[in-house]
Symmetry: C2
C-alpha cells in the first residue's frame, strides 16, 4: 500500500546506498541473484529494480560481469533528481 511496488522500493534502497557512498563510481553492485535473496523477491523483481537504476543513469550493465555504478562523466547529469516513485 504505502510501500508501493517492491522493485521500486528496492531501487530506491540501492540508490540511497549509492548516493550515500556505500558504492562508489566503478564499484560492482550486488547482482540479481544476491539481491533476490537479500530482499526475498524473485530474480525478475531484482532485475527490475536494477533496471530502474540503469534507466536513471546511475548504473551501467556489463554482460557477464555485473552492474557497476556509472562513473560520472558529465557534471550536468540530472541524475539525483530522477523520481524513483
Amino acid at each position: 500500500m504505502l510501500s508501493g511496488p517492491q522493485y521500486k522500493r528496492i531501487a530506491a534502497d540501492l540508490r540511497a546506498q549509492i548516493q550515500d557512498g556505500e558504492f562508489g563510481p566503478g564499484d560492482l553492485l550486488p547482482g540479481e541473484l544476491p539481491l533476490s535473496k537479500r530482499y526475498g523477491v524473485s530474480r525478475h523483481t531484482a532485475q527490475c529494480a536494477l533496471d530502474v537504476l540503469e534507466a536513471a543513469g546511475l548504473v551501467v550493465r556489463v554482460h557477464g560481469r555485473g552492474r557497476m555504478v556509472k562513473p560520472k562523466t558529465s557534471p550536468d547529469d540530472p541524475v539525483a533528481s530522477v523520481d524513483v516513485r
Copy 2:
C-alpha cells in the same frame, strides 16, 4: 541467431511503421496481447518490444489504455537516431 532477439526485431518493425506514418502522434498502438499473437511471441516479449520504443521516446504508456505514439513536443529529439540493434 542471425536474426537477433525477437523483441528488438519487433520493436524495429513497429518503429518503422510509426515513422512511415502508419501510426500518427496520439494514435493508440496495438497492445501487448495483439502484438504477441501477431508475432507469435509471449506477452512478455511483446512488452519488451514496446519498452524499447518507450525508452527511445517514441511512445508513452497509459495504464488501462495502452500505448500511444508520443505527440512530438520538442523538435530536438534524437529519436530517429536511436539504435534498435
